[in-house]
C-alpha cells in the first residue's frame, strides 16, 4: 500500500496529514542536525589530522556562552515539536461527540467487530467515507493493539477495560489492520482490513445483513435471561438496584461520598465487580458476573443500558441515521450469539 510519495505510507484519514506534518518537521530537524554534526566532524577530522607524531595542540578553554547557546537552541526547537505533537495527540484521542460507535473485541488471534445496527464481522471493518467513527474496544484475553497505518491511528486494547479511538476516513479503499501489541503465538496473523466505502455502498452493505439483532436488543435479551430485571426493572427503572434509565453519561453519587460519571468503564466494572463502586442508598447485594458473561455480551449489555433514556424506556435507535431500521421489538429478538 504505497502512496505516490516514496517511503510515505498511504494517507486515508483526516488525521494522517496532521501526523505526517509533524513527522516531516521532525525529519527535517533530524536531517539538519545529523548533516551539520557529520559535516563539522568530517571537516575537523580532515583539517586537524595529526601531521607529526609528537605534535601537541594548544588546549582550548570552554565557553559558557557556547554551552548556553547549544543547550537553549535545541530546547526551543524541541519545545516546538512537543507543543505541536501534543496538540495533534489531543485531537487523536478525544473522540468527537457525534461519532458513529462501533464495538471491537480482540481475542487471540482475531478482531471481532459489532456495528450498532447489529452487523458483525471478523477481521474486517466496513465503514463509510467521511463519517466520524468511534471505536469502543476491549479484549477477552491479553493486550492487543488496533493499528491502521493509513489512518495513523493506534490504541491498545486492554483486558478489563474499554479503550477508545476515533477516525474519519477520507478515501475509499481497503487498508491494513494490524495487531501492534505482541499477543502470543499467532500475533502476526491477527491482521485484517478496514474497508472504506461510499456512503450509499455502505448503506447497501448494511441492508445486505438485514435481520441481525442490534447489540442493544441482544443486550435487552441478556438483561432478561441473566435476571437483571428483578432488581433493575424491565426497562431499567430501578427497584432494589439503582435506576439504569438515563444513567449513561450522568454523574452518580457513590456510598463513599465520591461522585463519578457513568461511562463505559464504570458500567463494565459495575457488572463484573459490583462491590467496587456502590451507588449511594444501595447495599452490596448484586452478585458478580465475572467469568459468567463474555466480552461480547458485556458490550451488548452496555449498548442496552446506553439505549435506555428516561423519556423512552424502549431501546432507543442507535446513533446511526444512515440506515432506517424497524424499531426493535424485544419479542422479535433472536437469542444472542
Amino acid at each position: 500500500m504505497q502512496s505516490w510519495v516514496p517511503f510515505v505510507p498511504e494517507s486515508a484519514s483526516t488525521m494522517s496529514w496532521k501526523v505526517d506534518a509533524v513527522y516531516f518537521y521532525l525529519s527535517g530537524v533530524t536531517l539538519f542536525f545529523t548533516l551539520l554534526i557529520s559535516a563539522v566532524l568530517i571537516f575537523f577530522v580532515l583539517r586537524y589530522r595529526r601531521r607529526t607524531p609528537y605534535e601537541i595542540p594548544r588546549p582550548v578553554a570552554g565557553s559558557h556562552k557556547l554551552e548556553t547557546l547549544w543547550s537553549v537552541i535545541p530546547f526551543i526547537i524541541s519545545m516546538t515539536i512537543f507543543g505541536w505533537s501534543a496538540k495533534v495527540y489531543f485531537e487523536q484521542y478525544n473522540p468527537p461527540k457525534n461519532a458513529m460507535e462501533i464495538y471491537v473485541v480482540g481475542k487471540q488471534w482475531m478482531w471481532k467487530i459489532q456495528h450498532s445496527t447489529g452487523q458483525r464481522e471478523i477481521n474486517e471493518l466496513h465503514v463509510p467515507v467521511g463519517r466520524k467513527i468511534k471505536l469502543i474496544m476491549t479484549t477477552e484475553d491479553v493486550i492487543h493493539d488496533f493499528f491502521v497505518p493509513a489512518f495513523r491511528m493506534k490504541a491498545d486494547v486492554v483486558p478489563g477495560k474499554y479503550t477508545t479511538q476515533w477516525f474519519e476516513a477520507t478515501k475509499t479503499g481497503r487498508y491494513h489492520l494490524f495487531c501492534a501489541e505482541y499477543c502470543g503465538m499467532n500475533h502476526s496473523g491477527m491482521i485484517g482490513s478496514v474497508i472504506v466505502m461510499e456512503s450509499r455502498e455502505f448503506d447497501n452493505w448494511l441492508s445486505g445483513n438485514a435481520g441481525n439483532t442490534t447489540p442493544a436488543v441482544a443486550g435487552q435479551q441478556l438483561f432478561q435471561t441473566l435476571g437483571c430485571v428483578s432488581c433493575h426493572g424491565a426497562n431499567g427503572e430501578g427497584g432494589r438496584g439503582p435506576t439504569l434509565a438515563g444513567l449513561f453519561g450522568r454523574q452518580t453519587l457513590l456510598t463513599d461520598g465520591q461522585s463519578i460519571r457513568a461511562d463505559e468503564p464504570y458500567i463494565r466494572e459495575s457488572i463484573v465487580n459490583p462491590q467496587a463502586k456502590l451507588v449511594v442508598g444501595f447495599g452490596p447485594i448484586m452478585p458478580t458476573f465475572q467469568g459468567q458473561i463474555s466480552e461480547d455480551q458485556l458490550v451488548q449489555l452496555l449498548a442496552f443500558i446506553k439505549s435506555l433514556q428516561i423519556a423512552n424506556p424502549q431501546p432507543a435507535t442507535p446513533a446511526s441515521p444512515l440506515v432506517s431500521r424497524p424499531q426493535p421489538q424485544p419479542s422479535a429478538a433472536s437469542s444472542p450469539q
Binding site: 513527522y23 578553554a61 493486550i143 491482521i191
Partner: protein, 554 residues
C-alpha cells in the same frame, strides 16, 4: 614534544596481574578487579554470541514475507531470547563490569575496588543468573518478548516465564553490587590530588551509571517477583480477571527499563569522552558540562518511563507531561555531542581504530537520539510505536551507541589489559565493516516502521519485503564484522606485538603503570598534580572566539 616524553613510563618488573598466579583456582577465587574484569569479559562475550546467533535467526526468517523458516512459536522465542540475553546479560554489564571493573580503580589511582570480595560475588551472581536463564532456554524457552507484558506473561504463555524471570531477578543483584562498589570506590579511594574535577569523564559516567543501577534495579527485581507470584500463586496483581491491572506492570517495568537504557549508554559516553580527548590530544571542551550532563541524564532518566505508554490508554495529560520530560532529557545528550565535536577543533587527530569507533559513535548516536525525539513526540509516536521504527531507534542507541563505545574502549585499553597490541589494519577494517553493516541493517527499518510494519511479526505483508531483505543483508555484513575482532583479540593474546606501557602517549593514570599492570596497579601510590586530559601546560590555554570574560578554565 617534551610533554609527551614525560608521560613515558619504563617497563618495571616482569610480574603482572596475569602471571602473578597460575591455575584455575587463582582465577575463580581472585579478588583482583582486573582478573574479575576478565572473567566478566569472557562471560559477556559468550552471551553476546548466543544473542547474536538469535539475531541471525530473526534476520533469516524475515528474508521472506511468509513465516516459512520456523514455526511462529519458535520465532517468538527467538526474538524474546535475543532481547533477554542481549539486554540483561550483555549490554547492561558490558562496559561497567569489564572496562569499568578494570579501569575505575586504575584511573583514580587506587589498588582495587572498595569491596573486592563483593566484586567477585557480583560475578558469581551474574553467572548464576546466566545459568538459570540458559536453563530456561534449554528447557523450552520463553515467548513473552523481553518486556514480559501482562497478562500474557502471567496467565497465557505456556513457556518458561518464571525461570527466565528468576534469571533476571538474580542477575539484578550483580548490577546493584557493581554499582555500590563503584560509588564507594570513587568517593573514598581517589589518589592524593585526584579531585572530583580532575576525574576522567569515564569515571563521571560510571558514577552516574552506578546511581541508576542502585536506584533502578530493585524495581525490576520486585516487578519480576510480582509477576512470578501471580503466575504461580494466582494472586491478582496484573491480571484483570483476578482483580489486577495489566498496565501497572508496564509502569513498573519501564520505571526500571527506561533508566536501564542509560545504564547501557552512559558508560559508552564515558568511553567516547576518553577516546575523543586522547586521540585528539586535547582537553574535553566544557569538561564540567559533559560531567554534569551524565548526572542530569541519570536523574531525568527516571522521570520519562511513561513515554512507553502513550498508546496504552494512559491519561492524555500524563502523556503530555512524560512527553515534555522526554524532550528535556534529550538536551544533556545533545550537549555532550556538541562538546565532543568542539573538542576536535584545532586538535591533533589520529585515525587509530578506537578513534574510528568514537567518531562512528557520534554519528550513530546522533541518529539514535534524534529518532528518539520522533517517539517522544506524542502524535508521531501513536503511529510509530510498536513498529520497526522503534526497533531501529533503540538499536541505534544500543548497538550504534553502547556497542560501538564498548568496542572502541576494548581496542583502546587492550594493550593495557593484555599487554599486547591488536593488529591495527584489521582493527580499522573491521570498524568500517561494522559501521557499514550496522547502517544497512537498521536504516531500512526506520522506513519499514513508518510504512507501518509492526514489530515482533513472524510473517508480514509482501510490500515490506524490500526493507527486510536490505536489513538481512546488512545483518550478515554486521555479523561478519563482529567475528573479525573476536578472532584477532584472541590471536593477539599469544601472537600480538608486546605493548608499551603507554602506547598512545597519554597523560591518564592508567597509562603510568606497566602493561599488563601489576596486581596492586601502581608500584607506589600516585600523586596527581595535573588536570584531566592535560597534554600541554594550562598556561598555554587558548581562548576561542570573542567570548572573553566569560571563560571557564577547562
Amino acid at each position: 614534544m617534551k610533554a609527551i616524553e614525560a608521560f613515558e613510563t619504563p617497563q618495571p618488573s616482569k610480574v603482572n596481574y596475569i602471571n602473578a598466579q597460575y591455575g584455575l583456582k587463582s582465577w575463580l577465587l581472585t579478588k583482583d578487579h582486573k582478573r574479575i574484569a576478565l572473567l566478566y569479559l569472557g562471560s559477556i562475550t559468550f552471551f553476546f554470541f548466543i544473542g547474536g546467533l538469535y539475531a541471525m535467526m530473526i534476520r533469516l526468517e524475515l528474508l521472506t514475507p511468509q513465516g516459512d523458516l520456523f514455526h511462529s512459536t519458535t520465532y517468538n522465542k527467538v526474538f524474546t531470547q535475543h532481547g533477554i540475553i542481549m539486554i540483561f546479560f550483555f549490554l547492561i554489564p558490558s562496559i561497567p563490569a569489564t572496562l569499568g571493573n578494570f579501569l575505575v580503580p586504575m584511573m583514580i589511582g587506587a589498588k582495587d575496588l572498595a569491596f573486592p570480595r563483593i566484586n567477585l560475588l557480583s560475578w558469581y551472581i551474574y553467572l548464576a543468573g546466566g545459568l538459570i536463564t540458559i536453563y530456561a532456554l534449554l528447557a523450552g524457552g520463553v515467548d513473552t518478548g523481553w518486556t514480559f507484558y501482562t497478562p500474557f506473561s502471567t496467565t497465557f504463555s505456556n513457556s518458561y516465564v518464571v525461570a527466565a524471570g528468576l534469571g533476571i531477578f538474580v542477575n539484578g543483584f550483580s548490577s546493584i553490587l557493581t554499582g555500590l562498589n563503584f560509588i564507594v570506590t570513587i568517593h573514598t579511594m581517589r589518589a592524593p590530588g585526584m579531585t572530583w574535577f580532575r576525574l576522567p569523564l569515564f569515571i563521571w559516567a560510571h558514577y552516574a551509571t552506578s546511581l541508576v543501577m542502585i536506584l533502578g534495579t530493585p524495581v525490576i527485581a520486585i516487578t519480576v517477583l510480582l509477576l512470578a507470584f501471580e503466575r504461580v500463586a494466582r494472586v491478582g496483581i496484573f491480571d484483570p480477571t483476578l482483580g489486577g491491572d495489566p498496565i501497572l506492570f508496564q509502569h513498573l517495568f519501564w520505571f526500571y527499563s527506561h533508566p536501564a537504557v542509560y545504564i547501557m549508554i552512559l558508560p559508552s559516553m564515558g568511553v567516547v569522552s576518553e577516546l575523543i580527548a586522547n586521540f585528539s590530544r586535547k582537553n574535553i571542551f566544557g569538561y564540567k558540562f559533559v560531567a554534569f550532563s551524565s548526572l542530569a541524564i541519570a536523574v531525568f532518566g527516571f522521570l520519562v518511563w511513561g513515554h512507553h505508554l502513550f498508546v496504552t490508554s494512559q491519561s492524555i495529560y500524563a502523556g503530555m507531561i512524560f512527553s515534555f520530560l522526554s524532550f528535556a532529557v534529550a538536551i544533556p545528550s545533545a550537549v555532550k555531542v556538541f562538546n565532543w565535536t568542539a573538542t576536535l577543533y584545532k586538535s591533533s587527530i589520529s585515525y587509530d581504530t578506537p578513534m574510528l569507533y568514537a567518531l562512528g559513535f557520534i554519528g550513530l548516536f546522533t541518529v539514535g537520539g534524534m529518532t528518539g525525539l520522533f517517539l517522544a513526540a506524542l502524535a508521531v509516536d501513536v503511529h510509530l510505536s510498536d513498529t520497526y521504527f522503534v526497533v531501529a531507534h533503540f538499536h541505534y542507541i544500543m548497538v550504534g551507541g553502547a556497542l560501538m563505545g564498548y568496542l572502541g574502549g576494548l581496542h583502546y585499553w587492550w594493550p593495557k589489559i593484555s599487554g599486547r597490541m591488536y593488529p591495527e589494519g584489521w582493527g580499522r577494517f573491521s570498524a568500517l565493516v561494522i559501521f557499514v553493516g550496522f547502517n544497512l541493517t537498521f536504516l531500512p527499518q526506520f522506513v519499514a516502521g513508518f510504512m507501518g510494519m509492526p514489530r515482533r511479526y513472524h510473517a508480514y505483508p509482501p510490500e515490506f519485503q524490500v526493507f527486510n531483505v536490505l536489513s538481512s543483508a546488512g545483518a550478515s555484513i554486521l555479523g561478519f564484522g563482529m567475528l573479525i575482532p573476536a578472532i584477532y583479540f584472541v590471536w593477539s593474546m599469544r601472537y600480538g606485538k608486546h605493548a608499551e606501557p603507554n602506547p598512545w602517549h597519554l597523560p591518564g593514570l592508567e597509562w603510568r603503570t606497566a602493561a599488563p599492570p601489576p596486581t596492586e596497579n601502581f608500584e607506589t601510590t600516585p600523586i596527581v598534580t595535573w588536570e584531566a586530559y592535560e597534554f600541554a601546560p594550562p598556561e598555554e590555554t587558548e581562548i576561542v572566539g570573542k567570548f572573553k570574560g566569560e571563560l571557564e578554565t577547562a
